[in-house]
């Protein structure tokens, strides 16, 4: 069993990280502090998940959110997708393992992966609407969000959702408010089987190694850690029994990375665009300096008069 994070003191605790600990800030150039906070991570052990949805409840509860009453379409997923209020969602997959002939019930807790290289932050046009703390947490700052939905296009995991109520983007905060005072995320706290554990990224990687060794000893020889290098690793990681095929788990991307279209949109097209517009403005000024105004001469007016004859 992973050592349980003790209950918090009721005394006032100073926040462990603040706005001074920003690694990245959307649409802004910032100087990151020289010293990084220890990187944190949430480890989701899919093999231990029983699909109870306590994490979903805890998330709604802690963040004071309500989900609309939905409709049952014959699947366990409830709600059917992430929403502006449901920042985490159990996704259920029934898979027949061709090697063993067993029906496997793969349950993955979906939500923000807190990428080390966050696509949402790269896409965001509003200064400070998305921030990344030096401990790795990627957070949306509601006051600065303009609701454009660019983060949705930037995300390789299809996580952010725009609220119909206030037109702002929402997603899992990794309970940055709880982590700031030394607590684990609400979902981790509520998990009855320790399928969700929380700590520093190093601790989580080591714990995952133990779990993977255990799974391998039980015949899951492809068990492994999901910490995709395409986004420079994530601060939410999975232990998967079939780590060779992440997409089995309700379409978890096999090789996530920021889409090259987004890279082009947020990179080259900006510089090329500003250069083209700037050059055309300069060309206008230069042309005017050399050619001068194109004026109608008195002769032109006389010719027009002759042409018009007495008809004007």
């Amino acid at each position: 069993m992973f050592p349980v994070i003790p209950n918090p003191t009721t005394d006032k605790v100073a926040a462990k990280f603040t706005d001074k600990d920003l690694l990245r800030r959307s649409a802004s150039t910032i100087q990151a502090p020289a010293q990084r906070q220890p990187e944190v991570a949430k480890l989701i052990d899919v093999s231990k998940c029983i699909g109870c949805k306590a994490c979903q409840v805890a998330c709604l509860e802690w963040n004071d959110l309500r989900e609309d009453v939905g409709v049952n379409t014959g699947v366990y997923d409830n709600p059917h997708d992430l929403t502006a209020n449901s920042w985490t969602l159990m996704r259920f997959t029934e898979w027949e393992n061709p090697q063993t002939g067993n029906l496997e019930w793969l349950i993955r807790k979906d939500g923000c992966m807190h990428c080390e290289d966050p696509g949402c932050l790269k896409a965001c046009p509003s200064p400070g609407a998305i921030v990344q703390y030096t401990n790795g947490i990627v957070d949306f700052v509601k006051d600065n969000c303009i609701g454009c939905g660019y983060c949705v296009k930037g995300c390789p995991f299809n996580i952010p959702r725009i609220s119909k109520a206030d037109n702002k983007a929402y997603k899992c905060t990794l309970c940055s408010d709880r982590v700031a005072v030394g607590q684990g995320p609400a979902c981790q706290k509520a998990c009855p089987t320790q399928a969700i554990v929380f700590g520093t990224k190093d601790e989580m990687t080591k714990w995952a190694d133990k779990r993977i060794a255990d799974l391998k000893s039980r015949g899951f020889d492809k068990a492994g850690l999901y910490n995709p290098p395409g986004v420079s690793g994530t601060h939410v990681m999975y232990v998967l029994h079939h780590a060779d095929k992440p997409s089995l788990y309700a379409g978890l991307p096999d090789n996530p990375r920021i889409s090259p279209i987004v890279e082009m949109w947020k990179g080259m097209s900006k510089y090329a665009g500003m250069a083209i517009v700037g050059l055309s403005a300069v060309a206008g000024v230069v042309h005017y300096l050399f050619a001068g105004p194109n004026r109608v001469s008195a002769e032109d007016e006389e010719n027009a008069e002759k042409l018009a004859g007495g008809k004007s």
């Binding site: 649409a27 660019y150 097209s269 517009v277 206008g284 001068g292 006389e302």
Partner: protein, 221 residues
């Protein structure tokens, strides 16, 4: 009367009141779209959102201005479509672009209502605005909801990413064409009055659009 008039006594009507109104609706929404679009295009222009009442308001207003512009531009398109069809002399005009730029119009063929440059502005803006309309709806939650309801079409995430890239790229080109359009109106003196009072002097017509002037004079009978 402006200094360019040289006491012109012949005046020719170039644009009706409704054509001018239509043009200025397009012009005002274009500038509004350009400024709000720049704010979302690059962080260094984000301060422009203050003109529209903040970031949220800018994000809300931009697509609606786009809808107004699209409808108004369609008006201009239908109004001026026939006069902007390419003709043989356009290629001669383009081949002699050197003389155009140095203002030596005596070396150019006689031009009808629009020269090849104006036609280029007309058609390129038509294409670019069409691209921005389609991709703009793809970036607009309310627009996409309408598309899903009306046509049952929901774009994939990659299609939305393409929409973002194409929308910005088309906007760059449209702004470049707009700079050419505005510059030409400033450079060629006596042009502005065509879109303000609707009238140009006979000399302006003789110099820049002689074929058009001949036709107008002919029509007066």
């Amino acid at each position: 009367m402006s200094e360019a008039d040289h006491g012109a006594r012949v005046r020719v009507r170039r644009y009706s009141g409704t054509a001018r109104l239509n043009h200025w609706v397009v012009a005002i929404t274009f500038v509004g779209l350009m400024l709000s679009g720049m704010a979302l295009f690059h962080p260094s222009f984000f301060g422009l959102t203050a003109l529209f009442g903040g970031g949220q308001m800018t994000r809300w207003l931009h697509p609606w201005m786009g809808v107004v512009l699209s409808v108004a531009f369609l008006g201009l398109f239908l109004r001026f479509f026939w006069q902007n069809l390419p003709e043989g002399t356009d290629f001669v005009w383009l081949a002699r672009i050197r003389h155009v730029l140095s203002g030596k119009e005596e070396y150019l063929p006689e031009v009808g209502k629009y020269n090849a440059g104006q036609k280029f502005v007309f058609w390129s803006q038509f294409v670019l605005i069409s691209v921005m309309l389609v991709t703009g709806i793809g970036l607009w939650d309310q627009g996409l909801a309408w598309v899903a309801q009306t046509f049952g079409f929901v774009p994939t995430m990659d299609q939305r990413r393409w929409a973002a890239l194409l929308h910005g790229s088309a906007a760059i080109l449209a702004v470049t064409i707009w700079i050419i359009h505005v510059y030409a109106a400033i450079w060629v003196r006596g042009t502005m009055s065509a879109m303000i009072s609707g009238m140009v002097t006979g000399g302006w017509g003789w110099r820049h659009h002689r074929k058009w002037l001949r036709k107008e004079v002919g029509n007066r009978g």
